[in-house]
Symmetry: D2
Subunit: 396 residues, 4 copies
């Protein structure tokens, strides 16, 4: 029902985001969307690109006077760097008679696979779309999702948990972790470890190497009953895995304490159920969320969280071994300007994808064509949750 498509190359004219299925009369908070784009660009350890681009959205269709019109909405983020690439990346015209093709694929990138798949002789044709710059589009979609979710009391945040082998360790609440991460250079919450992480990034960078890490994204204020167990297509956990694994560089996704759960007994892992009639909107609650807030593919209510593992960036100054596809000679992989560690920025994209999955689930459950209509139906649902099973048999 809710669907987004991104398009555009890293050094082409723009990154485009087209969103289908937004209701009418949603206030599109452009300053907020721009702040999300700026969060995506912030964070210690970024290379030079972030300074060139100061991303801002323009709207090409679907919005009037700040509100959605019910049809598809299109956002454009211009690539400011395009002016330096307007010959090399011109959509028009034809290839110059002579230019330097890139023919050495980098291990860990889409390079070789992309070249084979699309029958390109110049790797630039792969690199340009298989670039982390595409995540600008994902962040736009996610920012719109967050704006939509506000109407239902859902907040989405996140924090970095580890960089390389160094993990944040302090215990504190979700709120505190998120709030601390918001103002931290690495989007993490443990200032002691953050210092070590920064030192590590600097050291590894000097060695011409790169780093990965893990992050957590969290939604608060979720209603129970989203998703379903009935079909794989309807499961929330499948959706989460799909959208988070689809972020460039992500190689592992767990819903809650996924891999740790595999080492625990049932009695240690599962989140017991409690009842307190004063808790609203839903008096049945959990004290723990080891499940990530998803059981059997359905939202438990309250919290939902996912952890992702990001691999080290595959563009290394100390090149890995590769092969020149034209010469068929072993060579060291080429280096393009690149970051040392992108985990803090990937975390922002992770938030966007979590927000997206939830927005789609709300959109599906509550139907409707305008914010007014959806909010009316949502209010009905809150009333239902509040009185859940307080009626007679068969009258739920």
């Amino acid at each position: 029902m809710l669907e987004f498509h991104t398009a555009g190359e890293s050094h082409g004219p723009a990154i485009i985001t087209l969103i289908r299925g937004l209701p009418a009369n949603l206030e599109v908070d452009i300053p907020f969307i721009n702040r999300e784009l700026s969060r995506r660009q912030s964070g210690f350890g970024s290379g030079g690109r972030m300074k060139i681009e100061k991303d801002e959205v323009e709207i090409l269709g679907g919005v009037r006077w700040g509100k959605t019109l019910g049809g598809p909405v299109v956002f454009e983020v211009k690539n400011r760097d395009y002016e330096n690439w307007s010959t090399l990346m011109d959509p028009r015209g034809s290839a110059p008679s002579s230019y330097e093709e890139i023919t050495i694929p980098r291990p860990g990138h889409a390079d070789l696979g992309g070249m084979v798949k699309y029958r390109f002789s110049d790797l630039r044709n792969v690199i340009e779309r298989a670039s982390a710059r595409e995540t600008v589009g994902k962040c736009v979609a996610g920012a719109v999702a967050k704006v939509f979710l506000r109407h239902f009391g859902v907040k989405v945040g996140g924090f970095v948990e580890s960089i390389g082998e160094i993990s944040a360790q302090e215990e504190m609440s979700w709120e505190e972790k998120i709030s601390r991460a918001e103002s931290s250079p690495l989007h993490t919450y443990d200032p002691e470890r953050e210092k070590e992480m920064i030192e590590l990034i600097e050291k590894v960078g000097e060695e011409g190497d790169t780093l990965g890490g893990t992050f957590v994204v969290v939604a608060q204020g979720v209603v129970p009953g989203l998703g379903s167990y009935g079909e794989i297509q309807e499961r929330l956990d499948s959706q989460l895995a799909f959208f988070l694994m689809g972020i460039p560089g992500i190689k592992g996704v767990e819903v809650g304490e996924g891999f740790r759960s595999a080492t625990l007994r049932g009695s240690q892992f599962h989140d017991e159920i409690f009842y307190d009639s004063r808790r609203l909107p839903f008096p049945f609650y959990r004290q723990t969320f080891r499940s990530g807030g998803v059981e059997g593919g359905i939202s438990v209510g309250d919290i939902m969280w996912v952890r992702c593992a990001m691999k080290p960036i595959p563009t290394l100054r100390r090149g890995l071994m590769s092969v020149d596809v034209r010469e068929k000679k072993a060579v060291s992989a080429r280096f393009e300007r690149s970051d040392i560690c992108a985990v803090p920025r990937a975390m922002v994209v992770g938030e966007a994808m979590l927000a997206w999955v939830l927005a789609a689930a709300y959109r599906k459950k509550f139907g409707g064509d305008s914010m007014e209509e959806i909010e009316a139906y949502f209010k009905d649902y809150l009333d239902y949750l509040e009185s859940f099973h307080s009626l007679e048999d068969g009258e739920i």
Copy 2:
């Protein structure tokens, strides 16, 4: 293009699998499908259900004399236990005037969420579909996918890596691990550890508790160039995550060394590229597959593998705390007959889902409407791979 749907309840008449998008003239190897169903039922640590049911498919449509007809194919696996449940699970008729509703949701199951979502007063309505029995349908789809993939030289296998805190440890090749797992009670490859695992399962079972674990599924003989980096919908890693996370009980998925990658340097993680003109069909190859055989959402070629984490089974004899939704009183969660550890069987389902994702990717790349047509196009592609970039510039 290739799409499956499962239907049916655990104690209803049957589990149905409907597959769309199969080409015509695919030989449906029914004995093989039945063997896959029997693999799903085998494995140490299973409870009583496995003995009642000996699953076998019947075909209700889409196949004539063992070959597909190009339209949808429907498989039925009868639930032999249905005869004992024909009153309680009758699709017809109406609810008896008096029967015992189940009203105590089990933590870790879809119970509470399902009840809220669908407004049921009897939890049985949730339990029946949110049951691992649904994976019969997934295994049928996966077995058909395996039969299809055979035509392209792709083999799919798997093995259990850990049960609770005990991990298999011996080093050996994929082939060996898979082959040993095939004949092992726990579908694992390290007989020493397997003994410990079995002891653990027995001990934990006696304590009324349950266990999870991890498994790996592997495809061999994959061509490069499946999937894409261009869009999240086209990424192979997203697809893998979606289908594997959608298996009941799975809480974590990593493509290759996902979570470990987050702790490594770029120079330690990425799989270097080599060339040997004698290697067919694709002379560019890898010696390592830490990436899981997917880079930038595209298949690298040769190997593809995924690791999954399964949580402990949420139905415990030593009940977790819950709440009777009717009485609103804290109670111990109810116990239904259940396994202690389902990891070996989930691994078989994992193979099915990996096979499915690959079959869909082959189906998409090679188009066609009959096996003969697809095989012709595939042969073209192998020729192309063999000569990859040995032609003049721009002629790839």
Copy 3:
């Protein structure tokens, strides 16, 4: 959101209908579904098959005690004729060493195209799925849609308008046309013309020829605001055209007075808008429905109707010229037992498809996971319609 798939061959074991996206707690009215199947089999001019088969549904999954469970629902209609075809259409086994392949494609059928597409040597492989028997599945889906729509006050009916060159002509209300058609042998409303139609069918049948005709399907009690103009995928008229043109034999579809509209002036065609505060639920109304009740892809409210043209049945006793694909010799097309005129029965399928499109539109607009939830949201919407624009500016 709401989706159905049919499967099964004309003389195979069964016709299967799998429906996804039904809400929970919908009472599945099996006697009604069977009556719809029986309506599909009735009507003057049918051949012998209708007497062999007395279609009845069985439910294989997704329903308990007559109510949906929220997951996929599977219906099976056994082919009673299968017992006579169990060797020739056995899903198992392999082709007998010798049997008579059908190699003469019939003009007007999928025969030649299907043979080419799927690389079959025996036309039986095409004929079996490209058979009007598949519409059993469509009727099951449509009957379920009708049961769903009842909850929202929507009724779907239809009538035959013409057979060959003879058209029904009396003027009367929709209700009266539908009600008369219900008890008429040809499902039409003008008894005078019906006599002529029957005579024509008899005469044409004696000549070894066949007939087509037109029918109208109508929904009453539709709310305004279904569908959309914003995107082709969301337009109701596109959906109607898709599902009605997809009925075997249908070659033309018009929403309202489609082809006649092309000959009229704007002032003669468009349906003027009136207001009466006492009309509920929506005080803005039409006196005419030349548009078919769809303007700009959106439902106008009250009535929705579509007219379809059905070609004459392509299986003729007096064979058309064709070519034996094996011998490459011109021959007369072969004859299989067949009807002379299938328009009355196609009309029943047309109702099913109209009901389906509407059910899907209601499902999308009102979201929800159970009948109780959808009905609550629908009630909200009726309240809104009633007070449409009676509020202050900007408060609609």
Copy 4:
């Protein structure tokens, strides 16, 4: 597999077309696309808008040096009129404290339905997207489809058949009709009737009224075996109906002689099958195409054609009766600048949609990721067609 989305409002910044699923290395012929846009704007009987806008595409993503890159492609056609509407249609900012809302819905437009659906108080919010200007996006998609189809020898054209009650009548070949229509003011082929049509348009325009008509779109050079009978989703006729009925103003679609077929006998209607081993690529051929070139949902090969009925434009100078939704008073519907007859331009959009359906069908049948790959597979298929059934039994 191939999918397009349009976005943008009539007087907003731009009309956007996003296309997914194009293969890599397709040469995007921009001059051709612009010519198609200019054809859409030409034709006698257009109002003033056509003179303001001279539509030209810019590419925002997915193309480098004139060739597709395998990811999504985005086209932008700027609305030159936007500069006059930049306040009234500004995506940013908020509604002015005072401006004149449009509150009188026009019969025949999406106005009232759209207002109800999306809860707008200003009809401008509906009008802007429910505008024929959206068809710019459809024409861009169709032009790209035509460029793609060229590689497979498929040409798409069309002609107007009637305006109001006046029909073109001369008999001639498809080629001649299309070629004459190309240079005719009304895109029709009978110069005698065209004079009458023009006079009629002028007369009706003077009376403040509007006209509809019919057109035919034709593809030549189609291969047999596209689409399928097996499922409604796969039928070519369903697809054609969906995309052609989705053009604003179209109320009727017939595949070939749809409505006339309903009046004919089987022996008069069906297209007999002939064989000539010298005809390539497919020696089985037809002399007539009354079926529109689609039998049982599958392409017959050679020709495919569809006829559409367009209603008269619903914006009339002599206003129809309507109701002011705010005042609840009967009034005459408001007039916005509008055409008198849009049939010649709708025909161009019709070509676009026919091309789209075919491009999608080729894309699906031949798979592949680059033009080179698809062309290789297509060549295989031509070889197969040529030798169809000249092999031994079972070896087709």
